[in-house]
């Protein structure tokens, strides 16, 4: 699926958090959206998956204008999302979290049907993909941050997404785990021909896995290119060094 945004704008009480952002991600391509804290990355994601309504601009999936569709409808069109601040069903176990996604996928809304044992194989398949197979019976409220990120990814994969939006997918993980998770994502992108857009503050992850990098600052895309180009881009260095946040860790 080709994913594109065109001229996205969003202001909060007069403050332009996103100011005319356009880019596209091709099927099977891994693109990183980087930038200092408060650059507008999450806001861009929120408009891309329909959680926020853009003030201006369009969101396109395979050329189709999907601007303004709510997240649940975009999900049915193949958009999966993970959140910077993890969002899981904390009263449920890891397996049940995945089960909810699968029930929703199959539009299973029954009030009398049973759920016991339903999707067990599929759930363990998804959990083993993200390296959580042993944690199926654990309560989501008791998981570490890194594990929650994995659960979120497994939920996103449950619907075989054609576009994956991941907001800081490896935050809270050890370096080894980060590499493993990104390898999984890379593999998924290739095998399933999924378009992947992710934000990340860890530059090893960004430069190690992204095919293309978009640099965002103060609501605008200020640079775009292959990792090698971005690494040597003067403007990018300024954007990061001009900030107090330790962006390059």
């Amino acid at each position: 699926m080709t994913f594109a945004v065109d001229g996205l704008e969003k202001a909060f009480k007069g403050f332009k958090a996103v100011d005319g952002v356009s880019f596209s991600v091709a099927a099977g391509e891994l693109v990183a959206l980087i930038g200092p804290n408060g650059a507008g990355k999450t806001t861009t994601f929120n408009m891309a998956n329909g959680q926020l309504v853009a003030d201006r601009g369009r969101v396109l999936l395979d050329g189709r204008d999907v601007t303004g569709l709510p997240p649940r409808e975009l999900w049915r069109l193949g958009v999966g999302r993970t959140f910077q601040i993890t969002q899981t069903f904390t009263s449920m176990t890891v397996a049940e979290n995945i089960r909810v996604a699968l029930l929703s996928r199959d539009r299973a809304f029954g009030v009398l049907a049973t759920t016991a044992g339903r999707y067990d194989d599929e759930i363990s398949g998804l959990l083993s993909e993200v390296g959580m197979v042993a944690a199926g019976a654990q309560q989501c409220g008791a998981l570490s941050y890194g594990d929650l990120k994995r659960v979120e990814l497994a939920m996103a994969l449950a619907n075989a997404p054609r576009l994956l939006l991941m907001d800081e997918p490896t935050a809270g993980m050890a370096p080894r785990e980060r590499a493993q998770l990104m390898e999984l994502v890379t593999r998924t992108a290739q095998e399933r021909n999924t378009a992947v857009l992710f934000t990340e503050h860890d530059m090893t992850v960004v430069f190690g896995h992204a095919r293309r990098i978009l640099v965002m600052s103060r609501g605008k895309i200020v640079a775009e290119g292959a990792p090698e180009e971005i690494r040597t881009n003067r403007l990018v260095r300024e954007v990061y060094l001009g900030q107090t946040a330790p962006a390059v860790r």
Binding site: T115, Q139, N159
Partner: protein, 625 residues
Amino acid sequence: MISSFLIQTLNGLASASLLFLVALGLTLIFGVTRIVNFAHGSLTMLGAYLGVTLYASLGGGVLGFWGGALLAALCVALVGVLIELVVLRRIYAAPELLQLIATFGIVLIVKDAVLYLWGPEDLLGPRAPGLRGAVLLLGKPFPTYDLLLIVLGPVFLVLVWLLLTRTEFGTKVRAATEDRDMAAALGVNQALLFTSVFALGSFLAGLGGALALPREPANLSMDLSIIADVFVVTVVGGLGSIPGAYVAAVIICVVKAWCIGLGDVAFFGTTFSFSKLTLVAEFLVMAVVLIVRPWGLFGSEPASTQASTAPALAVAPPARSLLIAVMAVAAVLVLFPLMGDRYSLVLMTDVVIFALFAASLGLLMGAGGMASFGHAAYFGAGAYAAAIAAKAGLPFVAALACGLVFAGLLALLFGWFAVRLSGVSLAMLTLAFAQIAWAVAFQWDDITGGSNGIVGVWPPAALEAKAAYYLVALLVAGAGIAFAWRIVHAPFGYLLRAARDSRVRAEAVGIHTRRVQWVAFAMSGALAGLAGTLFVFSKGSLSPDTLGIPRSVDALVMVLLGGVETLTGPVVGAVLFTLLQDWISRATTYWHAVLGVSVVALTILFPQGVVGTIRQRFAHRQVRG
């Protein structure tokens, strides 16, 4: 026509001023303490009764009226301080629903105290000296006192605005309203501030009550009718907004006054009684505003929209041991007629009916995370529909079905609005809806029998024996509870709990959370209605009390008593509550006060709910040990 229209408009404005005065107090208190004081209407009622007494003891006249009103308001302020110091201070950190319940406990205590001190009769209040006459407006007389009231509302709006913007006290209040922690960090003495704001808010409530005397006698049902009106105003104006409260009070009171003014109007040959439609008009105004602005005219969505009313606790999949326990209990219940006498059979019938009622609310609050403060509306709707169907000659089973369906439809209507809100706003809205339903039942003589209700609704001859009806109630209620329990564990239940835990995540995996919650609301209402149908056939009659606010709160107490984590909780809570109520009400006529004190004590002792607090203690001990 124009002149009567004008008169009604002015009439509405006068009512609006009084209502605003009371709502203003509630809003100020809410802004600073974040507590919605259910007992605010009770303070108004207290102000009215005190106003009557003080007028007499001050020897009437100008001093008696105005001095009496002022003194009454001051006394109410003192009562407010007492309430704040004794009760609220201990529960500022408790979940908001528990706070609401605690203040409802105060409602019950105040009501019985007023009953004890002043007796059950309405007390006619004094007329304002010097303002008893009327002025002619466009040739029609209009009470002078009402003209004064019209001015009073805006005057208080300005006074409070000056107080908030021009004084140091006001600055502190605003700081605490904006950001409590910040205010504390800036050295604002929180305890003192909270108490003084509570005193001010109570003063306004008391004043509103005393000043309403020339228009309305002091009576024992003021507390709930006023708090329901104030909730409507607060929901329509936007929770926490002072101008919103005024605008909403004006809109609602004026529309109501117009309806009364229109009276009977002939439309295409049929007469249409608008004066009986005031409640419907109130509902329509509320509905229109909430469709356009779910959080009220001047309100905005609270920062955390998470439906955090229920603690997100795990629902364990059904275990075999539970099934065995349920079977055992069921066996005992089925065999009960062999051992129980007539009295205990009737009591046990109540127990199973209220178990279903509590389970229906438990489903909504637990799995749904939505606390309905007006669940008796559906219970009562079911009861009325079944009674009317039975009176029309429908057989018993068909009448049951009518009750179930009608309650479900009503819940579908109210629920559409309710699922757009959360937390206390949701609580206030559901309560306001229920109050409207109550008033419709109370006023619509032709259909509901008005205050007399409907009598002679008995089950068919085969079920006339108490034991037989008990068994039928047990069967139907048991099926209802089993169905509620099934829902929680079915795919739908998963989606419902998902929507409760994280709306954002649920939407991101394709769940239409509002719709799921809406359907849950309707199903919960239908089950409550089923309980209501069983109730009416067991009593043989029903009155508007069946859907009054107290019954809604009974259900809440049952649910919180048992805990919302599982459906067993509400059922156990219902059993305990019904048996206790029976036991205490045989011992004293002041059963409400006893219940009120127990509710307050429970919330102070168990600020996280009985089960939650015990769990917490247990966890602490484990950590220490």
